[in-house]
């Protein structure tokens, strides 16, 4: 697996294990959400919308010369946006192939899969799927 992807995941696991209390972990997510750049109108299009149950996520991507993927993402809910930011931080700029094949073990490790409400977990799942789909598409081109 891509070494950079591994170290990014390890880094996040470390950051999240710092806090016991999930209120604080949410605080972290919220901060990450606030730091993520607001999407330009070019990317904030309905065609890039992943409709979750309660909040909306915009996700688009471009490909660099070397088949690396750049992600552009946003959400109207800040915690969701934090999750978006987390995913972007892990996958942004990696080779398309590595994204397509990525094993995102950090999600389970930091307990997101268990802790998130089913609607959020579904949303996160859709987001991951969509990112991998970009990986697959850009790898092929």
């Amino acid at each position: 697996m891509n070494a950079e992807l591994q170290s990014r995941q390890e880094q996040i696991v470390e950051e999240f294990s710092f806090y016991e209390d999930w209120m604080e972990k949410y605080e972290q997510l919220i901060d990450m959400g606030k730091e993520l750049a607001v999407l330009s109108d070019e990317h904030r299009q309905d065609e890039h919308l992943i409709r979750g149950c309660q909040s909306r996520v915009w996700l688009s991507a471009t490909r660099t010369e070397e088949k690396h993927v750049r992600f552009y993402a946003d959400s109207d809910a800040i915690i969701t946006k934090g999750l978006v930011a987390l995913m972007v931080r892990v996958l942004d700029g990696l080779p398309a192939k590595d994204i397509a094949e990525s094993d995102l073990w950090f999600i389970e490790k930091i307990g997101l899969d268990k802790h998130l409400s089913p609607t959020r977990a579904n949303g996160l799942h859709s987001m991951v799927q969509q990112m991998k789909r970009y990986g697959v598409a850009f790898q092929a081109k």
Binding site: M23, Y26, E27, I30, Q54, S55, A77, I78, T80, S117
Partner: protein, 420 residues
């Protein structure tokens, strides 16, 4: 205590002994995310008192059997309990006849029954079905489906900024001569209590058949279908301290008798013949095909008796105190906007906070053990009307307390500190 005493008791108000009430709900003693549960999602589904849970268990442990047609003792015992529950419902909502009480799977099932069994017979191309903009999807989609099939039209009465029904618009739209008027007694999102008696009178005056969705009224107030004057009244058990999978459709005898059945099968037939065709049973069985939800009906009967025992007036007063207090305290928060602030509201408080997504707020409340609902609450047209993605909704039941209101308000404050 006989039924009559309980009935009279239910019309008198005395302060609820909340700790005695709470003691009957084991779930309220639990923790979520390491915090004591504060359950403020009553409008989505109420918790169940031990009496209801035990009545169902007792039934399944000691006298379960299929009902009706059985010649043996168990079947007799089960049938007795099942039919006694029906008469409990009858008295509870003041229906004239026992056979006007039809068991259904829930409010949604009941409305669909009317839309299909009554609607497909009576709604013709070009007809108008009048609903309101505050309806739950359960009281919208079945009519849209019917209208599409029959070439009819669904019109909806506007709501005003405070979440009350636009009376002028109602009068105006009645002039369209709707065949059916369907509206909710109490709004699950806005808390608005509609003057159902008056609306019914106007609608009947305009010649319409009237269906009332009582899902949010039944658990909170005295309902008398004869006083209301409606043709149909529906509600779900699980919102009224009863089991899941059971609900009631009340219909006036004459209108039910004239209706064709909806579901075919056992129980609802008189004679089934492959050669000569099939004839149907009388009310209420005509609309109760198949083995009914026996334990659910028995549980719902007990739930209504339990509720009557508390005193419905006391319950309503209690819930009004809680929601007023919540509105009062939450109202001090910067950027707070209530969605629905009618003069007459039930124990439902819906709100949004400027610059904050309701979903974020709900998530952080959940982290603090506070169960509220966020989103559209199956009333997307209300969200469209107020142009919001959803609301945070706190809804109160007989078992909630003023301390829980404090916890809610503090929880909202803490969450907002993180979010803004």
């Amino acid at each position: 205590m006989g039924y009559l005493e309980r009935y009279i008791g239910s019309r008198m108000s005395s302060a609820l002994d909340t700790s005695a009430v709470r003691a009957q709900f084991p779930i309220l003693g639990r923790q979520v995310h390491g915090k004591p549960l504060v359950y403020l999602d009553h409008a989505a589904s109420s918790q169940k008192p031990v009496a209801v849970i035990e009545a169902q268990r007792e039934y399944l442990m000691h006298y379960h059997s299929n009902v009706h047609r059985g010649a043996h003792a168990l079947s007799q015992q089960a049938t007795d309990a099942f039919e006694r529950a029906r008469s409990t419902v009858q008295y509870h909502i003041g229906a004239e006849h026992l056979e006007e009480i039809i068991w259904v799977a829930g409010a949604t099932d009941g409305i669909n029954l009317v839309a299909q069994a009554w609607g497909r017979e009576h709604i013709q191309s070009g007809d108008v079905i009048l609903i309101t903009c505050m309806e739950h999807h359960a009281n919208i989609v079945p009519w849209q489906m019917l209208a599409e099939e029959r070439g009819a039209k669904v019109e909806a009465v506007n709501i005003l900024e405070d979440g009350t029904l636009d009376d002028d618009d109602f009068q105006e739209k009645l002039k369209l001569g709707p065949k059916l008027v369907a509206f909710m007694h109490v709004s699950n999102t806005l808390g608005t209590i509609n003057d159902a008696q008056r609306l019914t009178k106007m609608a009947k005056g305009a010649g319409a058949v009237v269906l009332i969705d009582g899902s949010q009224a039944l658990p909170h107030m005295m309902v008398d279908v004869v006083d209301l004057g409606c043709d149909f009244y529906v509600f779900s058990g699980h919102k009224a301290y009863g089991p899941t999978g059971i609900g009631v459709l009340y219909g006036k005898k004459a209108i039910l008798e004239a209706m064709k059945p909806w579901r075919g099968g056992g129980e609802m037939i008189d004679v089934v013949s492959l050669k000569n065709g099939t004839t149907y049973a009388g009310l209420p069985h005509k609309f109760e095909a198949g083995t009914p939800h026996i334990s659910g009906a028995i549980g719902l009967g007990v739930a209504l008796q339990w509720l009557t025992g508390l005193g419905l007036k006391s319950v309503m007063d209690h819930e009004t105190i809680l929601s007023s207090q919540a509105r009062h305290q939450l109202g001090k928060i910067d950027g707070m906007r209530f969605i629905g602030s009618a003069p007459s509201t039930s124990g439902v408080v819906s709100f949004v906070v400027e610059g904050v997504h309701p979903y974020d707020l709900g998530t952080l409340l959940d982290q603090q053990g506070i169960a509220v609902r966020t989103g559209h609450h199956c009333t997307q047209p209300i969200m469209e009307h107020f142009d919001i993605p959803g609301t945070v909704r706190a809804s109160f039941g007989a078992y909630n307390t003023l301390q829980e209101v404090d916890v809610l308000v503090q929880g909202v404050e803490r969450a907002l500190k993180m979010l803004r």
